[in-house]
Symmetry: C2
Subunit: 270 residues, 2 copies
């Protein structure tokens, strides 16, 4: 059962600004035995994203306890934490004394073909462009219509993910994942100065690459640059890492050495 402000409930106050304006942030993470994996990193990111919206972030021990509580019956599921501005009167002005809403829930881990991890996934380029909003770029806020529209572009179950370009035509990432390229031994990921979500796995990978002596570049990535990459893969906290074996109309790849190393760093590293 989900918890709303610590109380088991499946019903939200209709006046919540999370609904009215998407005024809040969220996190999605994997559980093991009811414990959040990489909790320190997820909490740090949650606290950061709350700070950008000037939301007060709940105590980490409280959230960890509530994840465990909500995971009863689903101890290896996917945890989700949502923090909203809480209830408010009609209108954009912040409530005088905001009472943030915290929502903790756990879903079953999604079932995906095992080959997606070993052989890689097929991916498409979406026509929907990523929303451009530098003040919120990288933040996992509740204004996600660009990902919704992009994900609605296909229903072919063979296609694992769609990539979004920004309004200039540079890549931002997947609808639910961060994109990496291997380029002559270096790891490249799109700069997220204008949009997209800077996920925890992306952050980990950039750190681990450096500590393994692999150069990293966070830069604009055009479709031509993507097409010329030596390897391509996607990461997020639920899938870990999917090699990309094909991007429709762009190219095909086989999982290469940097992809293998990255998957190992994510599996074994902190």
């Amino acid at each position: 059962m989900p918890l709303i402000n610590g109380v088991a409930s499946g019903a939200l106050d209709l006046r919540d600004r999370g609904l009215a304006y998407g005024d809040g942030v969220f996190r999605t993470l994997r559980l093991h035995d009811g414990q959040a994996l990489l909790w320190d990193r997820h909490y740090r990111k949650l606290a950061h994203d709350c700070a950008v919206l000037k939301l007060s972030c709940p105590d980490p021990a409280l959230l960890a306890r509530e994840l465990t509580q909500a995971s009863a019956g689903e101890p290896a599921g996917v945890g989700k934490i949502t923090i909203t501005r809480g209830p408010g009167a009609r209108g954009y002005a912040l409530p005088l004394r905001p009472q943030p809403t915290r929502i903790v829930s756990v879903s079953p881990a999604p079932m995906r073909p095992a080959e997606w991890v070993t052989d890689g996934v097929r991916v498409r380029l979406c026509a929907t462009r990523a929303t451009f909003q530098p003040a919120l770029a990288g933040i996992k806020h509740l204004n996600r219509l660009d990902s919704v529209l992009a994900r609605a572009e296909w229903d072919d179950a063979e296609i694992a993910e769609g990539l979004l370009l920004d309004h200039r035509g540079d890549l931002v990432g997947g609808t639910m994942s961060n994109l990496f390229l291997a380029e002559r031994g270096a790891l490249v990921t799109p700069d997220l100065a204008g949009g997209g979500i800077a996920g925890v796995q992306r952050e980990r990978l950039l750190e681990h690459a450096v500590s393994h002596g692999v150069a990293t570049r966070v830069e604009p990535v055009s479709v031509a640059r993507l097409a010329a990459a030596d390897e391509v893969f996607l990461v997020n906290s639920v899938i870990d890492l999917w090699p990309v074996r094909a991007i429709d109309g762009v190219g095909i790849w086989a999982p290469g050495p940097l992809t293998t190393a990255a998957a190992r760093w994510l599996r074994d590293g902190d």
Copy 2:
């Protein structure tokens, strides 16, 4: 009491995609004797916005009845209709058979100083830039963090509204209103190809101007152009029209003939 899918309730299914992703649209309108003013126009706009998100829009007679029902005790209040994609599992993919949620509620009409209508309002330029997303521009969807951040920039009750620029530096409009300029006898309003909400009063005004022989221009409007305008005013469905008497750091104005005419068209026209 608000109505959720026709049932009096103040609690929303936590799995609603309106909360998770802002996957929905809304309308705000004035009531008189429990009847929505300008209902045909509001419904047309709601149906249009639903169509952009590929949401099925409820029947107009049903919504009108529910507005009346929800307005008991507040027959001259502000009605709000929200249509979301409805409940869904975790993840951006649309539910196989979406069951949209319709929410109808009524709030008291806001109290504002009477001089705001007669003498005009003081306005500021916000530092927050409007979100750029051409696929959703003009639509009153639930991804409204740009307006939330902009409105949070001030708490001086003397300031009635804040204006947002787009990422190029052109004006989009107010956090909750559409902006008009009078320029040598013509009516000018920012082009909303990249962001903002194209409100019903904006649409009415553009139509009435034409039928009164007043030229209209829907174009990019720079701050310099705004500063040089002969008259400036704001419109929306709750306030109708506020002349702008001052924009901090930009200029001061007195209500002029086009402002007066526009207020009359909105008051008397269809």
